[in-house]
């Protein structure tokens, strides 16, 4: 990948000038609040991340129209890490050290988050991460507004086990951190519920895999053993389209072998002919089809902002909406954008989500979310067939992995620890070896 810098040189210069203290204090008072946006606008991940950049720009525009925050305007600073993981770290450093942004919203893939993490911790920045991820992490400087495994994967498996009656399981995923860790947790969970080894099939494929013939035919064979079979898919991004197409062509429909996906949302479906997918499932914390006025208002303003009547909204967009609203509330509460003050103020902040409930920031920097299971419809939308009775709090450390079961995370005083081992009674208990190898 060739890095494509997008920050304008004059802006860079201006930032350095301010850094040198050449601007007068009176002007500094009126300085806008800077919000860094760290999403790939080119490269493979542009497909998913570019809409998140637009979501934030829309939220910031709306906020400025309402008079800004603390009487100051909000200024977005957009950089393009170009789907290049090490470049994410460089761009984060640029945002924090040169642009001196007050907060960063960004990242999609776990590997890009892992690359940014040391930078954000070193420079004491704030990062809001909007995508479902594998858990096993809690940083003082990161707020996880996407789902942890217990807010997406585990409830989805529960649904299949209890409501659909699945007994055989195919865990199919793309070969990287998130699917490997999630599948490890799911395997442990399934075995804890009495599923035998021979009833679990695990399969990994490379990024962008497009030839699914053999795998789909394997799944078909695996599913014809006289027990109800379900596929849990952590297949990422583009590779889903040929996967579902092959499923349709080989005649597997949702009534025989349902596929529940954790990475397929409205955005991904808008690039597919959805006819063969009707009835397959997805587990998220938000669907565009959620029937609340807050959601319809959000969709309307999104359509207005993009000017595209067919524009869709999805779960990570809601996560950014929640993250932005929470950060806004915390800044108001603290009366400043100072990172340490906001970090303390945000814990316990509760804001309305788009599905009619509330999202609260927990001491472990994860938020409470409802879990929704939806079936794909022919218009690329999901019809919600099941939801948790109340919201679920995100769990940073899974209860189903040997080393992580004893860890808790609480960033409030006096504990102030992301991985406190309750058995040994000390901070820095360390994650399980399993997780270390997965990374």
């Amino acid at each position: 990948m060739i890095p494509i810098p997008t920050v304008h040189p004059t802006r860079w210069l201006a930032a350095s000038l301010i850094g040198l203290g050449l601007s007068s204090p009176a002007i500094a008072q009126e300085d806008p609040i800077k919000v860094g946006i760290l999403h790939s606008l080119s490269g493979t991940m542009a497909i998913s991340e570019s809409t998140l950049k637009d979501t934030l720009l829309m939220l910031i525009e709306r906020q400025n129209a309402e008079g800004g925050l603390l009487g100051r305007q909000i200024e977005p600073v957009v950089v393009d890490p170009a789907s290049d993981w090490p470049l994410f770290a460089e761009k984060a450093r640029e945002l924090l050290a040169q642009e001196e942004v007050d907060v960063i919203f960004g990242n999609w893939t776990s590997v890009s988050r892992k690359s940014v993490l040391p930078v954000v911790e070193e420079l004491n920045g704030l990062l809001f991460y909007p995508v479902q991820y594998e858990g096993e992490e809690s940083s003082e400087n990161v707020f996880y507004t996407g789902a942890a495994p217990n807010q997406q994967a585990i409830p989805a498996v529960d649904y299949l086990m209890n409501e659909v009656g699945a007994e055989r399981w195919v865990l199919a995923g793309t070969d990287y951190v998130y699917p490997r860790t999630t599948n490890k947790i799911l395997e442990a969970y399934l075995k804890a519920h009495g599923v035998a080894d021979e009833d679990i099939m695990v399969n990994y494929t490379p990024f962008g895999h497009s030839d699914w013939q053999n795998i789909v035919s394997d799944i078909k064979r695996f599913g014809s053993q006289g027990k109800k079979t379900a596929v849990v898919s952590t297949i990422n991004g583009d590779a889903n389209v040929p996967f579902y197409r092959e499923l349709g062509n080989q005649g597997i429909d949702a009534a025989d072998i349902p596929v529940v996906a954790f990475s397929v949302g409205e955005q991904e479906l808008s690039g597919i002919d959805t006819a063969p997918l009707v009835g397959h499932l997805a587990a998220w914390n938000y669907f565009m089809s959620v029937d609340t006025d807050a959601n319809y208002d959000f969709i309307d303003s999104w359509i207005e902002y993009t000017g595209d009547e067919m524009a869709v909204t999805n779960d990570p967009m809601e996560a950014h909406y929640l993250g932005f609203t929470m950060w806004k509330e915390a800044v108001r509460k603290a009366g400043t954008t100072d990172v340490d003050a906001v970090k303390d103020a945000i814990i316990g902040v509760s804001v309305p989500n788009l599905s009619g409930g509330h999202a609260a920031m927990m001491p472990n920097h994860h938020i409470t979310k409802p879990v929704l299971i939806g079936e794909i419809q022919d218009n690329g939308q999901f019809s919600i067939v099941w939801e948790t009775p109340s919201t679920v709090a995100g769990d940073a450390w899974s209860d189903y992995l040997p080393g992580s079961r004893d860890l808790i995370s609480d960033w409030r005083a006096p504990l102030e620890c992301g991985n406190y081992n309750v058995v040994e009674g000390r901070c820095g208990g360390g994650a399980s070896e399993d997780v270390a190898t997965a990374e």
Binding site: I2, I4, L41, S42, G43, T44, A46, I47, S50, T51, E163, V164, D175, N203, Y204, T205, P206, G208, H209, S210, D211, Q213, N214, I215, S217, D218, G223, S224, G226, K227, D238, V241, P242, R245, E246, G248, N249, G251, A254, A255, S270, G271, D273, P276, L281, D291, Y296, I299, I303, E309, M310, E375, Q377, D378, N379, Q381, S383, I384, V385, W386
Partner: protein
């Protein structure tokens, strides 16, 4: 189960009613309203009972309502409580018709409408009950489809009417399927005699039923089922072999399509064109553009995009050749870097001008689904078409190279540029045309790929490495080599995949090629003679 049973009975009554009195007068509207109102509940069990009541009512609009329910298009207006059928559910405003009278009501906002939701369990029941209905239609194909739908979904209450159907049925295939469906049901009840009816059947449902029976406590039944299964497995082995070969050839045909254009530009002209993948991408985007121009006719659009894709990619190829490559003749490293730059520019151009998001290219009806060879083996149609298309493109290219003046000139210029020029061949013109030909073929590959994979800015990147791999493996400058190399790499990959996994299979293939190139640096079919030394 009780619910399904009465549902089926109800539907059968409905059939009888519908057949007996085709011109029956519609029930008063308030009846329909009450029936539909029962559907508007959160509990799926209650919904199931409401469907049962709906079917039992014998209302002749039931079929329409159930179809709409199945598609998620039966909805209710929030304020008036009126039931409507949504005619088109895209965008914010949906055209709707009244569910009771069928009268068009104009457009309603999706904000005002509540959908009557169903889940997979209800969908499955609706499918099998509608299948019972469809067994009565005149169209044989629809009847076969309906009978297939019933495999594994027969309930005790259906037995008597189904056996009646078997006796009345004229089509042998439908009869056989129905008999199997009944046998599967009997086997599920523990009837050992039913095993006989399923012996030798390749249906996955029959196999699933036999497997379940083989695990049963009844020793005689378990033994009979295991025996039948062993016979089926034997038959399936052959099936599986054929299937793997087909998978391999189909993957191979994709590789051949992607590589064959490169075999001309890289193999024959010696230009390392890293933008080859992006020329494929242009072809795929042409297919998408054509479908945008001809909405509602995906098939015609796809056929028209074959020549259009060729033209677009060929013109782009000419532009690249004139603007970059002609100045870098004989400097392969610089060409590599420059064309890599071109590939990035083309990708970003598409991202900026069209969208960074993938575009959806619809498969025409005749390309979706699969061709059934026997019940355990069916070949997916889209891949079958691509396989055929790849062979056609290959044959066409061979013709051009062997039988046309252009082909002759290309071969002459590659063998000895100076001598060809001395004979009066305009080498520059030949360069342009050859590059255009290679690029155009890449465009054709893109059109075909739009049916298999994502049409997005990254499409080309995913294939460029594979293309070079195939050309080098097959022997640079040899079209036959490309064909053989592509197909054999495809088959090797698919044979390895089931036991090695997709990731490892890919690595193993790469290692194999590296070792092979060590042994035979000029590939499978090395060029011989003077051209090879130049």
């Amino acid at each position: 189960m009780r619910m399904i049973r009465s549902l089926v009975q109800g539907l059968l009554c409905l059939v009888v009613v519908a057949l007996a009195a085709p011109a029956a007068v519609a029930a008063p509207d308030d009846d329909g309203q009450a029936l539909l109102e029962a559907l508007d509940t959160r509990s799926y069990a209650d919904k199931g009972e409401a469907i049962e009541a709906l079917v039992a009512s014998g209302d002749e609009r039931t079929r329409r309502w159930l179809d709409a329910l199945l598609d998620g298009k039966l909805q209710r207006h929030q304020d008036t409580g009126r039931f409507v059928v949504v005619l088109e559910n895209r965008g914010r405003q949906w055209p709707v018709a009244d569910a009771l009278s069928g009268e068009r009501l104009g457009e309603m906002s999706r904000r005002e409408l509540d959908r009557i939701g169903i889940n997979n369990a209800l969908r499955g029941q609706l499918h099998s009950t509608l299948a019972v209905l469809d067994l009565r239609v005149d169209d044989v194909r629809a009847r076969r489809e309906a009978a297939r739908e019933l495999l594994g979904n027969v309930e005790a209450a259906m037995l008597a009417p189904l056996q009646q159907r078997v006796a009345d049925e004229a089509d042998g295939e439908v009869r056989r399927l129905l008999e199997q469906a009944i046998a599967i049901h009997r086997l599920g009840q523990g009837d050992a005699a039913a095993v006989e009816g399923l012996a030798g059947s390749l249906n996955p449902e029959a196999r699933a039923a036999l497997r379940a029976a083989a695990r049963s406590d009844d020793v005689a039944l378990a033994e009979a089922a295991s025996g039948a299964l062993a016979g089926i497995e034997q038959k399936l082995k052959l099936n599986r072999g054929v299937e793997t070969l087909y998978f391999g050839l189909s993957l191979g045909s994709v590789l051949v399509l992607a590589a064959i254009g490169l075999a001309i530009t890289f193999g024959v002209m010696g230009v390392i064109n890293m933008a080859h993948g992006e020329l494929m991408m242009l072809g795929a985007y042409t297919a998408w553009g054509m479908q945008q121009l001809l909405p509602g006719q995906p098939g015609l659009a796809l056929i028209l995009s074959i020549p259009a894709g060729f033209l677009v990619a060929a013109l782009a190829g000419i532009a690249i050749e004139r603007s970059v490559i002609q100045f870098l003749k004989g400097r392969p490293l610089e060409t590599l870097l420059a064309t890599f730059g071109v590939s990035l520019i083309l990708q970003q151009l598409v991202r900026t001008l069209i969208s960074p998001l993938n575009r959806s290219v619809v498969s025409p009806e005749w390309m979706s689904g699969s061709l059934m060879i026997n019940e355990g083996l069916s070949l997916t149609l889209n891949r079958l078409f691509v396989l055929g298309f790849a062979l056609l493109v290959f044959a066409g290219l061979m013709l051009v190279m062997r039988r046309t003046r252009l082909g002759l000139e290309v071969r002459a210029v590659t063998q000895s540029r100076a001598m060809a020029r001395a004979m009066g061949i305009r080498a520059t013109r030949v360069d342009i045309l050859t590059f255009a030909l290679g690029s155009g073929v890449a465009g054709l590959a893109g059109v075909a790929l739009s049916q298999l994979t994502n049409v997005g800015p990254n499409l080309g990147q995913n294939y460029i490495i594979d293309s070079f791999m195939v050309v080098v493996f097959g022997g640079v400058g040899n079209l036959w080599g490309t064909l053989v190399a592509g197909l054999s790499l495809g088959v090797i990959n698919q044979v390895l995949e089931p036991w090695a996994g997709a990731v490892l299979a890919k690595i193993l293939v790469l290692v194999f090629i590296i070792l092979f190139i060590q042994k035979r640096p000029r590939g499978l079919f090395p060029q011989k003679g003077r051209a090879a030394e130049g």
